[in-house]
């Protein structure tokens, strides 16, 4: 629709007397621009394109012809931001992707289209690379979906999040970050967005897989063989199956180790005290080494998460590199969570905290405690962590307004 509007040049307008036309050339252009704007909305890019993972290309020194080939393979497998499609092996619903993709508009029935650009692209970018226009101003940076790593999930460390995990993040937002809650969106729109996040993530992982395949398997001067065996069966199918297997990887605590529901105050305090010792025990929980002796998140502050680590490593190897030309934001360290604030990014239920301790947090320095703590001990740490925001030292102080008058 927009393309056809744009294609109508000012010259084809009626009454094209050359002299008059010259004198009025600016208003004519203004009219044409106005028409395009009115039809499409000024800020939308009618021909939005996915951008390349330039850092990955530079890090692996991928030559130009291979970069072009990778872009072509990705376009053939995944389409464009306006017209997405996927290989059937992905298990994704193309109708849902179409609802999420494309420019923002509503049809006659009031059904909203372009949901991803309406709600997400501002921060996460059209490509899902976490580099939308707002990204540079946010801390932490918005998630880059392309490595296929997700923190907010109930599954094992190496596994993908479940559909319900993605839905929960959309509905509840992520406290302590710039990700707001989209709770009031209808559930079918939430599902459409979750599907599109999977799509962008699969596409990004496929891009990385192609680069890796070229780096490891293809001889210099040759192209990646464009055959189904390689592209779909060898490279894409494993990525897609990870997503399909997410529900099998949900972490369920052992029933035997669960804390009772009717614990007395005394039992709870005993558990909290055990948890405190484990928290500070360098051979057991060792939590204080990062979260700090006071649990203020100040034990170590110089580490990076996996998304930033890639940039830091690239910088170390390429001292002269211009990061901006590579579409990369300046790397930021990851702060261990200040556990006294009572702000939990992915759920405050004991179950959520247990999963954090059991599996660690994907993509971050937070390790799994499976090797060092028994499930009972993990529950002790959960109890201790949950008690921290309510210690006297953690209590927030708030100035009240000067309005002292209270109705008699």
């Amino acid at each position: 629709m927009m393309v056809s509007m744009k294609a109508r040049s000012p010259k084809s307008l009626p009454g094209a007397d050359p002299v008059a036309c010259k004198a009025r050339i600016f208003p004519r252009f203004a009219w044409a621009a106005l028409l395009v704007c009115a039809a499409a909305g000024c800020n939308q890019h009618p021909d939005a394109q996915f951008v390349q993972n330039r850092l990955r290309m530079a890090a692996n020194e991928v030559p130009g012809d291979i970069q072009v080939q990778i872009a072509e393979i990705l376009a053939a497998m995944f389409g464009t931001p306006n017209d997405p499609f996927v290989p059937p092996e992905s298990g994704l619903d193309v109708d849902k992707l179409r609802m999420a993709a494309g420019p923002v508009w509503s049809d006659e029935l009031g059904i909203k289209h372009g949901l991803y650009r309406r709600h997400c692209a501002h921060c996460h970018g059209i490509t899902g690379n976490g580099k939308g226009p707002t990204a540079a101003f946010l801390n932490p940076y918005p998630r880059d979906y392309r490595p296929g790593l997700f923190k907010m999930k109930s599954t094992e460390r190496a596994a993908k999040p479940t559909l319900d995990n993605l839905r929960a993040v959309l509905r509840e937002g992520i406290a302590g970050t710039a990700m707001p809650s989209f709770k009031l969106l209808p559930s079918d729109e939430i599902d459409v967005l979750a599907e599109y996040v999977k799509y962008l993530s699969m596409r990004g992982q496929m891009e990385e897989a192609l680069v890796r395949f070229w780096f490891d398997e293809v001889d210099a001067g040759e192209l990646i063989p464009e055959i189904r065996d390689v592209l779909v069966d060898e490279l894409f199918a494993p990525i897609a199956s990870q997503w399909e297997q997410a529900y099998d990887a949900v972490v369920e605590p052992e029933p035997a180790a669960l804390p009772g529901t009717e614990r007395s105050r005394k039992e709870l305090v005993a558990s909290i005290n055990k948890g405190r010792l484990l928290f500070h025990d360098a051979k057991k929980g060792n939590c204080m080494s990062c979260h700090g002796a006071g649990a203020l998140g100040d034990g170590q502050v110089n580490d990076y998460d996996d998304w930033n680590k890639v940039v830091v490593e690239f910088e170390d190897n390429h001292q002269q590199a211009d990061l901006r030309a590579l579409d990369v934001l300046p790397p930021r360290t990851i702060r261990p969570r200040n556990l006294r604030l009572g702000v939990y990014r992915f759920g405050r239920r004991p179950l959520d905290l247990f999963r954090r301790i059991h599996e660690g947090i994907t993509g971050t320095p937070m390790p799994s405690s499976k090797g060092t703590l028994t499930p009972e001990e993990m529950w002790n740490v959960v109890d201790y962590v949950r008690s921290l925001p309510y210690e006297e030292a953690s209590r927030p102080r708030h100035m009240e307004t000067s309005i002292e008058r209270v109705r008699m």
Binding site: G173, K183, P253, R395, R405, V406
Partner: protein, 257 residues
């Protein structure tokens, strides 16, 4: 252009102005339904001032039109020099001043009721504005905020119907404004301060919570929902939220919710 031409256009201003006000309610662009106990006082003040200013507006516009029509250029009338009228000046200074003083006194009770006479007792919940959402914290069974039995939610504020609700309102980052259009209630929230708002919902249902202070690029989508329900439904909802928050394992149905 003749003076008649301009008089015609100027005449359109009061006509279209009044027509917009008159047609607004028919097109659903007027006030949202008032479901609070005190809202009528705010609406009454609004309508009172609207009528007052509306009448003055129409009167002054018609005077303008009359003068443009009557004293249009081209009639070759002699222009008369005047040094102004002292009496006229006094009259049109005193009349608006008296009107303003009257409004100031007339609205005192409404203001006190809405902004000054905080009901005694502890807040039902604390609402924190954050770019771009409303986070809600209930004190739980003990009635004290910031204790382990607090109950949390986001963008969904539940309140009981027919009871006076006291809320504490805060901001986590920048200026926001906590606005309940159906309750005729609006309070700016300032980072570092805690404000109180109170109202009595009179009808059950779901209504909007919006931000009324430009707070960043996502200001327009900083929208929550207030659910007014019976006391028993409210208590049941709170209890259910609390139970969900205490979960140590997935119970059947959780993953579908």
């Amino acid at each position: 252009m003749s003076g008649k031409f301009w008089a015609f256009w100027l005449l359109l201003v009061p006509i279209l102005g009044v027509a917009t006000m008159a047609a607004g309610p028919l097109y659903g662009i007027w006030f949202p339904r008032d479901v609070s106990a005190h809202g009528h006082a705010i609406d009454h003040l609004f309508y009172f001032i609207l009528w007052l200013t509306g009448i003055v507006f129409v009167g002054t516009q018609l005077t303008l039109v009359t003068f443009v029509w009557k004293y249009q250029a081209g009639k070759r009338q002699t222009v008369e020099y005047t040094h102004g009228s002292h009496h006229l000046e006094v009259v049109w200074t005193i009349l608006p001043a008296a009107a303003l003083v009257f409004i100031a006194i007339y609205q005192m009770n409404a203001w006190a009721m809405e902004k000054m006479d905080r009901p005694p007792g502890k807040p039902l919940a604390e609402v924190t504005g954050r770019q771009f959402e409303w986070r809600v914290r209930y004190p739980g069974q003990d009635g004290e905020l910031y204790t382990p039995d607090d109950i949390f939610d986001v963008n969904d504020l539940h309140v009981p119907v027919g009871e006076e609700v006291l809320l504490a309102v805060k901001s986590a980052d920048v200026l926001h404004s906590f606005f309940l259009p159906n309750f005729r209630l609006k309070q700016d929230v300032v980072p570092g301060m805690k404000q109180f708002v109170w109202f009595t919902p009179m009808e059950t249902g779901k209504f909007d919570v919006v931000c009324a202070e430009l707070c960043g690029w996502g200001h327009y989508k900083m929208k929550g929902q207030i659910t007014v329900e019976s006391r028993s439904d409210f208590d049941a909802w709170l209890a259910r939220r609390f139970e969900e928050q205490q979960a140590t394992h997935e119970t059947a149905g959780d993953e579908e919710s």
